[in-house]
């Protein structure tokens, strides 16, 4: 956990392993210097010493307290430094912050998950959690989209999930290669292929803003009530404490009130999809 006496001080974490997931995405396995627990969907602020700090939702299991993993796309200043880091180096962690997925509300239900690109990272953590309580769930369906087969992340984990009772994985890519045998098209096309009992189901969406927008639209068309659509919002969460103001989305501090919201909570706030 965070330093209780100073909310801005990170705890140190040793970088144990760097896994290349795709040409632009890496997973960083870290060992915090003290036990670190989080609920799935909550996020951390990860510090690259002297360079900067950025928010990431862990991609590892919330049941694991000795190690924590984040999966990061190289997309900005901090992530570029992060991608160049080597095993054995030290990172800083603050958190966990925010409100994650209310997993207990998924009991006795089907969980339909739509993910895109690096949005699989928070979803993998959720899937680990759901797998651990699968006796309490009806079914879990993951619909995952990426640009190309090369950019599909967590390939071994997807295979593992496909062999897990009650779990189903559908994948699509925008641009296939000759080996691709699964769906081609934007991620929402997968939702047409899913058989789901909407009345006994919840929908979860995490990915780039454009996917979140059309994914939510599709969920609504399918008949999901607004309060059963769970969205993991991406804003400029900087302090994580509901103070710095950078992630304000209307009346909400995404870092504190989110990042997981139901659609009905945020539908009237400005610019939720950008």
């Amino acid at each position: 956990m965070n330093d209780k006496t100073n909310i801005y001080k990170p705890i140190r974490a040793k970088l144990l392993k760097v896994i290349t997931e795709s040409p632009t995405i890496k997973t960083f396995v870290m060992e915090p210097e003290q036990d670190f627990s989080f609920k799935t969907g909550e996020f951390i602020e990860l510090t690259v010493d002297g360079i900067g700090e950025a928010p990431f939702t862990p991609s590892s299991s919330p049941l694991e307290t000795k190690q924590i993993e984040v999966t990061v796309m190289k997309t900005g200043y901090v992530t570029e430094y992060l991608h160049n880091m080597k095993e054995g180096e030290t990172l800083g962690i603050r958190g966990p912050f925010g409100r994650g997925y209310p997993v207990e509300k998924f009991y006795d239900k089907e969980v339909l998950i739509l993910g895109g690109g690096c949005g699989f990272a928070p979803i993998r953590s959720l899937l680990y959690n759901l797998a651990a309580i699968s006796d309490k769930l009806r079914k879990v369906t993951l619909c995952y989209g990426s640009k190309t087969p090369d950019e599909c992340i967590y390939k071994p984990y997807v295979e593992q999930l496909r062999n897990t009772p009650k779990f189903e994985v559908l994948r699509t890519v925008d641009i296939p290669d000759e080996k691709w045998t699964e769906t081609v098209g934007v991620s929402t096309v997968l939702l047409d292929k899913v058989k789901v009992d909407i009345k006994n189901s919840v929908a979860v969406c995490c990915g780039p803003p454009i996917m979140m927008k059309f994914g939510t639209k599709k969920f609504l068309e399918m008949g999901y009530p607004e309060h059963d659509i769970y969205l993991s919002m991406e804003k400029n969460m900087s302090c994580g404490l509901g103070k710095c103001g950078h992630c304000m989305m209307g009346k909400y501090f995404v870092c504190k009130d989110g990042p997981v919201f139901t659609y009905n909570e945020i539908k009237d706030q400005p610019d939720i999809w950008s």
Partner: protein
């Protein structure tokens, strides 16, 4: 009545000199350019101005400095801030809600609040853009501050507002001649306060009260925001000078140290994420954002006012944008 004490200005000045060894003291002093808080030393005690309207800088800057290392936990020296008007005192309430949130207690801010004795002063005069009373704030302190100080002729009258204030008066009694305030002085103070309150209302006739601001902001059209923001240059002065705007950047320094630097939603890229999305990329949206934050979103989230009617944003605007013109336009 029992909470009012009085001492002669010469005794008060001696008392300040005496406590200088234990406290850093800030108080308003007029210089060649402005009237602002200065660090008090033995040579400028007699220049302190009392019961004037607001100093140039809001008091938030003394609790949330423009730039501050928030990870090195340096002990704070005890401080006394004299001469803070009630608009700034009321501004501290929302800062307390944000920074002393029980889930995320900001120890750096808290240490400054704890180590500071606030000697607020009722305003015996107004400035052109003061409109606190219209927003339901008295131009004199009744809470949050520790002592309310009113100078009447050569007498300093001190009203105790908190336990901390009471302890300080007890400390003063150890070396200064203090008596109960005279009835006539108290009546005089009351009269002055009431006169200023009336003056503020009269200077701001037609200006809607705080409760109406939210609806007005929501009613304003995109054309309105474009029109009012057309002269804005995104300098951020309105936010920097505002007693309740406290957004900041966290800047990383080696050895996992972090520096908190005051930021503003008026600056480009305030909300930009690494992926490139930037809700407030367009200037009219940034301009509108500040109004929504102060008059719609913060009131939904916090108990304290997010605008205390100090008028500094109007004074500070180099483009001469007057927020109250917008509110007046939509009041009818």
């Amino acid at each position: 009545m029992k909470n009012y004490y009085s001492l002669h200005i010469s005794e008060w000045n001696k008392a300040i000199e005496k406590v200088l060894s234990d406290y850093l003291i800030y108080a308003p002093i007029k210089n060649d350019f402005t009237l602002d808080y200065e660090l008090i030393n033995q040579t400028n005690i007699s220049e302190i101005l009392y019961n004037i309207p607001k100093p140039t800088t809001p008091i938030k800057t003394l609790f949330l400095p423009i730039k501050e290392n928030v990870t090195n936990d340096k002990p704070n020296q005890k401080r006394i801030i004299i001469g803070t008007p009630n608009c700034d005192i009321q501004g501290l309430k929302i800062l307390d809600e944000i920074y002393l949130d029980k889930d995320f207690w900001d120890s750096t801010y808290h240490a400054k609040r704890e180590n500071t004795l606030l000697i607020s002063t009722p305003c015996f005069d107004t400035q052109e853009y003061c409109h606190c009373s219209v927003y339901g704030i008295n131009p004199f302190p009744t809470e949050v501050a520790d002592i309310s100080l009113s100078k009447v002729d050569t007498k300093i009258n001190l009203e105790i507002l908190s336990d901390k204030g009471e302890k300080f008066i007890a400390e003063l009694k150890g070396f200064a001649s203090i008596s109960k305030s005279a009835e006539t002085d108290l009546k005089d103070i009351e009269l002055k306060q009431s006169k200023v309150e009336k003056q503020i209302h009269s200077n701001n006739s037609g200006l809607p009260d705080y409760k109406k601001t939210g609806d007005i902001v929501q009613q304003a059209t995109e054309e309105t925001w474009k029109r009012y923001s057309s002269k804005c240059v995104s300098c951020g002065a309105c936010a920097t000078i505002c007693p309740t705007c406290t957004c900041f950047l966290l800047i990383d320094k080696p050895n996992f140290e972090k520096v908190r630097q005051l930021d503003a939603c008026q600056y480009p890229a305030f909300e930009r994420v690494a992926g490139g999305e930037d809700n407030l990329h367009q200037l009219p949206k940034r301009f509108k954002n500040r109004y929504f934050c102060k008059y719609v979103w913060k009131p939904e989230k916090f108990k304290s006012l997010a605008c205390t009617g100090c008028g500094r944003c109007i004074e500070a605007c180099i483009a001469k944008i007057n927020k109250n013109e917008l509110f007046r336009e939509f009041a009818s």
